[in-house]
């Protein structure tokens, strides 16, 4: 990141090679459209280049900063293009077909055991499906508690509890992971 802050294009190229797959997956999870995801990916890396001076290592890791930026951009993009309703419908179909997408991903054969990714998925997939769904809708779709309650026909208080419990379990799980790694 220091090299990018010093405006070294090769450093951005390296950063792109390292993280484009993760950021594209995140964007895709939000917008559900390959072409839009590619456009947003390019915009986000341009923003990383333009905003690099605002990154502070004291406030976290570069990946965390980039993910925060990418998520906000992707959700903004989704709303600006007024594709929210269509994505919601698609998400609903996907949720019905695949109520525990995170759990499904965790069993992919190609994933190498011992990878940090697997450990994180293990933490997430350990949550009850209702908690996973609430977090998924909040994080990847940018929904408020009220929107989640309406979408899932669940009382607002229950949604809040699901989010609080689920996030705490993931947070605690991550802390344990950090201690182990």
């Amino acid at each position: 990141m220091q090299a990018i802050q010093a405006e070294d294009p090769d450093a951005l190229a390296q950063l792109y090679d390292r993280y484009n797959g993760i950021l594209k997956a995140l964007i895709l999870r939000v917008v559900h459209n390959e072409a839009e995801a590619d456009d947003l990916l390019q915009e986000i890396f341009m923003e990383i280049w333009n905003q690099a001076k605002n990154f502070s290592a004291q406030k976290g890791k570069p990946l965390g900063w980039m993910v925060t930026l990418a998520r906000r951009r992707a959700i903004d993009g989704l709303r600006k293009k007024q594709a929210y309703a269509r994505a919601e419908e698609r998400l609903q179909n996907e949720t019905e077909q695949q109520p525990d997408a995170w759990v499904h991903n965790a069993t992919e054969e190609e994933i190498v055991l011992g990878d940090t990714r697997v450990l994180i998925r293990k933490v997430i997939s350990g949550l009850p499906p209702a908690q996973q769904q609430a977090i998924d809708l909040a994080f990847f779709q940018g929904m408020s508690q009220r929107e989640i309650a309406a979408k899932t026909n669940t009382p607002l208080g229950t949604v809040k509890t699901r989010l609080e419990l689920g996030l705490k379990k993931i947070y605690d799980g991550l802390k344990e992971l950090k201690d182990e790694l």
């Binding site: 890791k61 992919e108 929904m143």
Partner: protein
Amino acid sequence: MSFEEFKKHSRLYVIGALESEELEEFERARAKFGKKAEDFITECYGLHEAFALSLRPAKSSAAIKERLMAMVREKKGT
């Protein structure tokens, strides 16, 4: 709001799930707890990284990188 409650709210805050009325209360508590609050919020942003890492990486075309680097080099040159 106790610090334990603040921690619960912080985790909701970083994923943008606080409702507007909760947000006001959260910001008051954030100011009250000062650095301790800021440090905890920073820690909570680790959740973003974790959610992204939980996804299987997606492939993107080489053209994206080429376009990006062309834009960056052009911007740097101007």
